[in-house]
């Protein structure tokens, strides 16, 4: 299983090379991996249908509860099959669509990385690895959306998608950690096994909100839906993959996954129900006014995501069955529709539906596949989409508390979607042949394989509902609902309310299709305000705000003044250390032993007086002299307190320092008083606070011995091992010889630097 999930990453690394060496037909060859994965996942079906979920465990960082463990149940398997199955066709399709594109090898690499991330996401049993894969999908999909990176618009849209989904990802991370802590486990199967542990936890509302933000951002729910249509800048194979089975479904997957643990409450029902229904309506409402062939599909994806979220929110048995059936139906028809849209765009050179016409004779297979897939989108019998839509109406009619609201929005949305399905399937293919930028002809086999197979599956599943029902949907529903449910899918439910609603929706769709031109005019004339006040304007405001904030804080924090940095550093140290010391420890500050000699105190006094004098003097020679006082005083302290080597070194270095200062200081200008008296008082206060803190800390530390000093051992070895009687020397040249070597290197480097600067000066003067 680990190899299956990670194989995509491995192939991602190898695929550019493979694609280059194989050439034109690389797509067919590379598609072997997802195809093999599809077969591999199919192999799990019988066991999962028989005996339920399986957990496959590989320890990674067990101490931190981070593991590669995989949960194979109906839900994850449904997603894994969609990802690998549709992925197979997408790779083949990309070979045709991007034929001759200079960056095609790169495209394969990102695509495989994305696919592997997606598989990891849906199969992960561990919350942390789930999150890692979640973020990997955001990053790889960013690369895919911005694939045409020389296009400014593509970069902007890709960044938009990245920012929205990653911002949601941050919220999700916090939510997942809260869930893990609350449930006492980071393994999904353990968290979900205990029914009420999350619902009855005091953090329930917090984690619900955070998880929902993450899911809604990823699955483009209102008001974060705007990034999804913009993601259309990606090449069509990417859009087809992102929209049908992957990326945007990740949020839906997460909600479905957590339904047994987080769902079932009023907060869950109303948030998901209302947001989902509004998203569904917004998506279809915006689809109706679009003329770009990919934009239409993008907005119907928003509609589908809203529907799924709404159904998961309703959460009744029927709603969950409807959600899983709709998920499957949508993946099948949306992937084929996108690939067909790409074929039309590829062969005609335009994306505008209004500019296409009469392609029926020239592209017969495309036409046929479009009709089948669009019928499924519109929800007409005998397609699988019809079953899903019937189930959806059934669920909304029975929704507790939201029945009227969701049913009305569902019917209205279904009308608009049916209208747009008709536009998609009929407009480009009928009427007079229109002049297009490219001379149209039928798309190559690589671009038709996917849509034809997937559209046929949609028809097959519709006619023989028991295949998907017993094959996968039942297990998936069981996993989402939390307990097994008997699922039967068939076309004819008898004459009931859902059928009436379906007929109403289709009638409305036909009417909208026939009067589409008037509808477009109406949108243009009356509803222009959407563009001015839509959610995307909000994003732009937010984006500008973030940039402004970044500039502001850079101006404040990176002022370029050393004293600002120093003041902030010193005050932070003083406040944090002081707060910890006085508020959180019970160390006593004692004055220590009062045992002192007169000459010791006198030397200490010399050092202090020297330091103060050096700080206030206004003469350069005075500064050099007082610094000498400090240095030699310190040397005396070393000598008095049993450190002869330090004393000798300090005297030597101090002499050199004074000479250096005298030599250089006098080439510099005299001291000026550059700062105002108020500034000086402020700086003195900052300095004084640090000095006081250091004094207090030393007093507190005095007399505290945590462990025996390691010097006892060093002293013992000094003569026996290293044959030296001066232990300090032995430590320097023997025990820590490498450190001393490093020190010599630093000194050498400083010397080279000094020499170089002096030489530079000499050359300047010669010139």
């Amino acid at each position: 299983m680990l190899i299956a999930v990670l194989s995509g990453f491995i192939l991602a690394a190898a695929s550019p090379w493979l694609a280059r060496s194989v050439g034109d037909r690389a797509g067919w060859l590379l598609a072997a991996l997802p195809a093999a994965l599809f077969v591999y996942f199919l192999g799990f079906l019988p066991t999962v249908n028989e005996s339920g979920a399986q957990v496959i465990h590989y320890p990674w960082i067990p101490d931190l509860d981070v593991n590669f463990s995989f949960l194979v149940d109906g839900l994850s398997l449904l997603f894994a099959l969609l990802i690998s199955g549709i992925g197979t066709f997408i790779i083949i399709y990309a070979g045709g669509y991007l034929h001759g594109h200079p960056h095609l090898p790169r495209f394969y690499a990102i695509m495989f990385a994305f696919m592997a991330s997606m598989l990891g996401l849906v199969l992960s049993n561990n919350l942390i690895t789930l999150f890692v894969f979640w973020e990997l999908t955001s990053v790889t999909s960013y690369l895919l959306m911005g694939f045409n990176h020389e296009d400014k618009n593509a970069r902007w849209c890709a960044l938009q998608g990245l920012l929205v989904t990653v911002a949601g990802g941050l919220a999700l991370m916090a939510g997942l950690i809260m869930i893990g802590v609350a449930a006492g486990s980071f393994e999904l199967h353990e968290i979900l096994a205990d029914d009420d542990v999350l619902r009855e936890h005091p953090w329930y509302v917090g984690m619900l909100i955070l998880v929902l933000i993450g899911s809604f951002a990823k699955s483009a729910q209102v008001p974060l839906h705007f990034w999804l249509p913009n993601a259309m800048v990606a090449p069509t194979p990417v859009s087809a993959f992102l929209h049908s089975a992957t990326m945007v479904k990740a949020g839906v997957y997460l909600l479905a996954r957590f339904n047994p643990g987080l769902g079932g409450t009023d907060a869950w029902l109303y948030t998901l129900g209302i947001v989902g229904a509004l998203t569904m309506f917004t998506g279809s409402f915006m689809a109706l006014r679009s003329t770009g062939i990919k934009a239409v599909l993008a907005y119907t994806t928003v509609m589908a995501l809203g529907t799924l979220v709404m159904l998961i929110g309703i959460g009744t048995e029927g709603a969950i069955i409807a959600a899983m059936a709709f998920l499957l139906a949508h993946a099948l028809y949306k992937a084929s529709l996108f690939m067909l849209a790409g074929a039309l765009d590829h062969e005609t050179g335009t994306k505008d539906i209004l500019k296409m016409g009469g392609l029926r004779q020239l592209m017969p297979i495309t036409f046929l596949a479009s009709c089948v897939a669009a019928l499924s989108l519109a929800g007409l019998p005998p397609l699988f989409g019809f079953i899903a839509k019937e189930l959806m109406f059934e669920a909304t009619v029975g929704a507790p508390g939201l029945a009227f609201f969701t049913t009305v929005l569902a019917v209205v949305s279904a009308m608009m979607v049916a209208g747009m399905a008709a536009v998609f399937a009929i407009r480009p293919f009928t009427g007079k042949l229109k002049e297009t930028p490219k001379k149209p002809h039928e798309a190559p086999p690589s671009m038709l394989a996917g849509p034809v197979v997937l559209a046929t599956l949609g028809l097959l599943f519709g006619l023989m509902g028991f295949i998907p029902a017993s094959g996968i949907v039942q297990s998936a529903v069981g996993a989402v609902y939390g307990s097994p449910i008997e699922v039967e899918l068939y076309l004819w439910h008898g004459i009931n309310l859902p059928l009436m609603l379906s007929i109403l929706a289709i009638a409305g769709g036909v009417a909208l299709f026939l009067r589409w031109e008037q509808v477009l005019d109406f949108y243009r004339e009356r509803l222009g305000f959407i563009d001015r006040f839509g959610a995307e304007r909000g994003y732009e405001k937010w984006y500008d705000g973030v940039v402004w904030l970044a500039e502001w804080q850079t101006r404040v924090l990176q002022s370029g003044y050393l004293r600002t940095y120093l003041t902030i550093t010193v005050l932070t140290t003083v406040v944090l250390t002081g707060w910890t010391f006085f508020g959180h420890t019970n160390s006593a500050v004692t004055l220590g032993s009062m045992d002192m000699h007169f000459y010791e105190v006198a030397i200490a006094g010399v050092v202090v007086v020297g330091a103060i004098a050096a700080s206030v003097t206004s003469s350069r020679i005075g500064a050099a002299a007082t610094l000498g006082m400090v240095g030699f005083g310190v040397a005396m302290i070393y000598v008095l307190f049993s450190a002869p080597d330090l004393g000798i070194t300090q005297i030597m270095i101090e002499t050199l320092t004074v000479i250096l200062l005298v030599l250089v200081l006098f080439r510099l200008p005299g001291f000026l008083n550059l700062s105002k008296p108020a500034d000086r008082v402020r700086d003195a206060a900052v300095a004084f606070s640090l000095g006081t803190l250091m004094t207090v800390l030393i007093l507190a530390v005095n007399g505290v011995t945590v462990t025996d000093p390691i010097s006892l051992q060093l002293a013992e070895w000094s003569y026996t091992e290293a044959q030296g009687r001066n232990i300090v020397n032995v430590i320097l040249v023997d025990f820590r010889a490498l450190d001393t070597l490093g020190e010599l290197f630093v000194i050498g480097l400083a010397a080279v630097g000094v020499y170089a600067m002096i030489r530079l000066r000499a050359e300047d003067k010669q010139r």
Partner: protein, 116 residues
């Protein structure tokens, strides 16, 4: 004596920070010198002050005599620090001198551009 030394170290830190907060670049150098002395004395003080018992091994013995001799390890660290401190100081002083020659300005507030 530890308490007196604590005051000395505190005073050295205060003086060094005060000097580093000045605008004149020469005063920054003075601050650096004081800071390096302050840090060395800090390590020296907290490792315990011992009178008249340096970590030396007399002829004929294999460990220092008596019980309480000064801890040699902090001394070794400080010795390294003194020398490194001087290296940094020498470099800084020459660098500042060079900067003054090129910019013709001692005020750090005027040295805001990297090329001039």
């Amino acid at each position: 004596m530890g308490s007196v030394m604590a005051v000395v170290v505190g005073a050295l830190f205060a003086a060094s920070v005060y000097m580093m907060l000045r605008r004149s670049i020469v005063k920054l150098v003075i601050g650096l010198i004081l800071l390096s002395n302050a840090a060395n004395l800090l390590i020296f003080t907290v490792s315990g002050l011992t009178r008249g018992a340096p970590p030396l091994i007399p002829e004929g013995m294999t460990v220092p005599p008596g019980g309480a001799w000064a801890d040699p390890l902090p001394q070794a660290l400080i010795l390294t620090a003194i020398v490194i401190g001087f290296g940094v100081l020498a470099f800084a002083v020459v660098l500042i001198h060079r900067a003054y020659e090129v910019v013709g300005e001692d005020d750090m507030d005027q040295m805001r551009s990297t090329d001039s």
